[in-house]
């Protein structure tokens, strides 16, 4: 993330995303696959780190091996194998939805994981229960903890989608788009951008 000054003089928090060039590596059709979709590939990968079947898959599209493959639906224009999709697809001041894998936080308690308020004050005999979850249910009835009770556990690393992020700028020379606000995930991680 960084921040930039808009023409109105305001400072906007923004994220710079390298969005392309993506190459069409497979076109799924109704006849062949039962649904319509386009598989796009992004980011180079060494051939020695690619399995032989995947090398064949990329050769069919006439490209070098790629690191990330994602299927997209609902393209307006008809696409063929080997077509290149660039950031020209995006317009400035339009809105996009961005999906990514959020940063992993490890095993976290209920305060971090579910936003519990903690127990309250630190005085009045309070000892070491400040961030405890409290009661998880009643006694002999129902004699069990209900499923879905919010407890401590692995946090982060989920698929998170952020909707309606404004595209502040498209820089075609470097395949960059700049969106207002933050996106899920660590620096350098892969994102899915949808219009």
């Amino acid at each position: 993330m960084t921040s930039v000054f808009g023409a109105d003089g305001k400072s906007y928090p923004c994220t710079v995303i390298e969005a392309g060039p993506c190459i069409v590596t497979q076109v799924k059709t109704l006849d062949n696959d039962g649904y319509e979709a386009v598989q796009l590939a992004f980011d180079d990968k060494k051939e020695k780190n690619t399995t032989k079947p995947m090398v064949g898959h990329f050769q069919k599209a006439g490209t070098e091996p790629k690191a990330k493959l994602v299927e997209f639906k609902g393209f307006e224009q008809a696409l063929n194998l080997g077509d290149v999709i660039s950031v020209d697809l995006f317009e400035e001041n339009s809105f996009v939805d961005i999906t990514g894998v959020s940063k992993g936080k490890g095993f976290q308690g209920v305060v971090t994981r579910h936003g519990f308020g903690g127990v309250g004050g630190q005085t009045h005999g309070q000892h070491n229960r400040g961030r405890a979850p409290g009661s998880v249910g009643a006694s002999s009835f129902p004699s069990r903890v209900f499923p879905g009770m919010r407890m401590a556990g692995r946090t982060g690393g989920d698929n998170v989608k952020v909707e309606n992020l404004r595209v502040l700028k498209v820089i075609p020379e470097n395949n960059l788009i700049v969106v207002k606000g933050s996106v899920p995930g660590a620096k350098g991680s892969y994102l899915i951008i949808e219009k």
């Binding site: 960084t2 930039v4 000054f5 003089g9 923004c14 710079v16």
Partner: protein, 115 residues
Amino acid sequence: MDLLKVAQEAFRTGTEIPSFGAGDSISVHYRIVEGAKERIQIFKGVVIQIKGEGVNKRFTVRKMSGNVGVERIFPFNSPFIEKVEMNRRGKVRRARIFYLRDLTGKSARIKERRM
């Protein structure tokens, strides 16, 4: 990191700001929007510090308004800066001349640096 700089560069307004440092007297021509009207205000004073890096780089200018000290912080990349005029180069030993805040009148003068 490199691509971040490319993106930041794309938002630059291209206003040339002369290089100055602490102790220099400058006039900042700053665009002010009041409702639908726009005018240019000139803030004339002494640079007392330059802070931050990259897009966050900003400078503080201090002036005496009557006998009240006024300080204003300007971002280098603000699109509202019309131009910056260099009035006088000052000879100071520090990068941040906060001691100026305690001084008034004759003692608040800064020696001119001859180039």
